[in-house]
C-alpha cells in the first residue's frame, strides 16, 4: 500500500518554528534558520525556477522526498488564507498559479469549496470530513504512489496519534530555538513506536529517517 510520508526541519531542541508565528511570518522568530540548508541546493533552486546552486550530501535527501509522490495532504493553515469561510475572492495558496506540487493536493478544512485546477499538474481539493477521508482520497488519487504530508506540525500530530504516518524524515539543525512550536507536543501517553532507517550527514544539518512499523 502507498505510504504516508512526512518530512520537516527541526531544531535540536525540537522546534519547527520560532515564537511569534503569524500569517506573514509562519516560521516565527529565528525559524528561517531551520531551512537555510535547503536554499543553496541546485535541486531546490531548480524547483523554484532559479539557476545554479550546489550539490552536496543533502541533495539525495531532497530528491527522495519528492520521488514517488502521487498526492499531497496539507492542513488549512499550511494552505493559507486565514481561518474561517473562504469569502468572495478565495485564497489560491501560497505558491502562485503554478505550484511546485505537480500532483493532486488535498487540503483539510471545515469550509467546503470547489476544487481548483492550477498550472503544472497541481489540483487543490478541499476535504471537510476529516484526516482519514483526506488520506483515503489522496491514496486513490496517488495511483499506487506514496502520499506526502505537507504539514503543518499540528496536522502531522493528528496523523501521528492516529497511527497513520508510515515514514518520518527529520532534518535536525544544530540550533536551540528555546521557544516556539514543538513538533512533538501532546502526542499522548503511548506514542507510536518507530524504527531508524538511515542517517545522512549534510552541511549544517543531519537528516534522520524513521519508519513506523504496523
Amino acid at each position: 500500500m502507498s505510504k504516508l510520508r512526512f518530512f520537516i526541519s527541526m531544531s535540536l531542541d525540537g522546534f519547527v518554528a520560532g515564537p511569534n508565528q503569524s500569517a506573514k511570518d509562519p516560521l516565527g522568530d529565528g525559524g528561517m534558520q531551520l531551512h537555510e540548508w535547503i536554499f543553496p541546493l541546485a535541486v531546490w533552486r531548480k524547483d523554484h525556477g532559479e539557476e545554479g546552486g550546489e550539490t552536496n550530501a543533502s541533495t539525495p535527501v531532497m530528491e527522495r522526498r519528492t520521488a514517488d509522490i502521487g498526492a499531497v495532504v496539507m492542513g488549512r493553515k499550511m494552505f493559507g488564507g486565514g481561518p474561517g469561510p473562504w469569502g468572495e475572492d478565495p485564497w489560491r495558496g501560497f505558491w502562485g498559479e503554478a505550484p511546485p506540487f505537480h500532483v493532486p493536493v488535498f487540503v483539510l478544512t471545515h469550509h467546503a469549496r470547489e476544487h481548483l485546477e492550477m498550472k503544472g499538474g497541481t489540483t487543490y481539493n478541499f476535504v471537510t470530513d476529516g484526516i482519514e477521508a483526506a488520506l483515503d482520497q489522496a491514496r486513490d488519487a496517488a495511483g499506487g504512489k506514496d502520499v506526502s504530508l505537507a504539514g503543518g506540525a499540528d496536522v502531522f500530530r493528528q496523523y501521528l496519534v492516529a497511527g497513520l504516518v508510515d515514514e518520518l524524515d527529520i532534518s535536525v539543525v544544530p540550533v536551540l530555538l528555546g521557544e516556539g512550536e514543538r513538533l512533538f507536543e501532546n502526542v499522548g501517553s503511548e506514542p507510536p513506536q518507530l524504527e531508524p532507517v538511515d542517517v545522512v550527514d549534510g552541511p549544517g544539518v543531519t537528516h534522520l529517517r524513521y519508519r513506523f512499523p504496523k
Binding site: L12, D13, G14, P19, G30, I170, P174, V175, L176, L177, G178, E179, R182, L183, F184, V187, G188, S189, E190, P191, P192, Q193, L194, E195, P196, D198, V199, D201, G204, T206, L208, Y210
Partner: protein, 178 residues
C-alpha cells in the same frame, strides 16, 4: 577543559520519561565509540538533585554511571544535603558556577560532565557549556524531563562536530558557539 552535557535523548527531546523512567534508554543497543570517548574525557560530573535521588535508589550512588566503569567524583547541586551519601558524591548549594568550579578542580586536566536537563539549561544560560554529546534514541516518550528544558529560553547556536550511527542510536557531538 570543556564542559560537556552527555545524555541519551528520545527523538521528542526527553532524557527521562514519565515518572523519571530511564529504562527505555537501554533498549537500543550500545552507542558508537563516542560514548566511551566521552566517558574517558570526563574527570568529574555535575548532576542535579533528581539524578541523585534516582542514582541512590537504583545504584546506591555513583555505581550506575557509565556501567560502573567510570572513576571520579560527582558534585550534586542542591539546597538539601543528604546524609550517608556515596563518598564520591559532594553537595554544592551555591549555584551552577560554584558546582562547575568544584568539578573543574576535581577533574584536573580532564573535562566536566553535566548530567540533567535543568543543569544543561543552567549551564547554557550561564555561558558555561562547551559541548553537547547526544545518543539520540528512536523513541517518542510523550512526557518527562526535557534535556533543553520546558521554559522559554534564549536561542543558542551549535556546530556539529560529528555524527555516528550505532545499532539503533544516532550519536551527535556538537560544540556550543559563543
Amino acid at each position: 577543559v570543556s564542559t560537556i552535557s552527555h545524555h541519551t535523548m528520545s527523538l521528542d527531546g526527553f532524557i527521562a520519561g514519565p515518572d523519571d523512567s530511564i529504562d527505555w534508554a537501554f533498549a537500543f543497543g550500545e552507542p558508537t565509540s563516542l560514548g566511551e570517548e566521552t566517558m574517558h574525557r570526563i574527570g568529574a560530573i555535575v548532576a542535579g538533585r533528581r539524578w541523585y535521588e534516582l542514582a541512590t535508589a537504583r545504584w546506591d550512588g555513583v555505581g550506575g554511571i557509565y556501567h560502573g566503569e567510570w572513576d571520579g567524583r560527582v558534585f550534586v547541586l542542591t539546597h538539601r544535603e543528604a546524609e550517608d551519601a556515596d563518598p564520591r558524591i559532594s553537595f554544592v548549594s551555591g549555584g551552577i558556577e560554584e558546582a562547575v568550579g568544584a568539578a573543574q578542580e576535581s577533574a584536573g586536566d580532564k573535562d566536566v560532565g553535566i548530567f540533567g536537563g535543568s543543569l544543561t539549561r543552567q549551564c547554557l544560560d550561564a555561558g558555561l557549556l562547551d559541548e553537547v554529546v547526544l545518543h539520540l534514541a528512536p523513541v517518542l516518550l510523550g512526557s518527562g524531563v526535557r534535556l533543553f528544558g520546558d521554559e522559554r529560553a534564549k536561542q543558542v547556536e551549535l556546530e556539529r562536530v560529528s555524527v555516528g550511527e550505532a545499532d539503533q542510536l544516532t550519536d551527535l557531538r556538537l560544540r556550543v558557539r559563543r
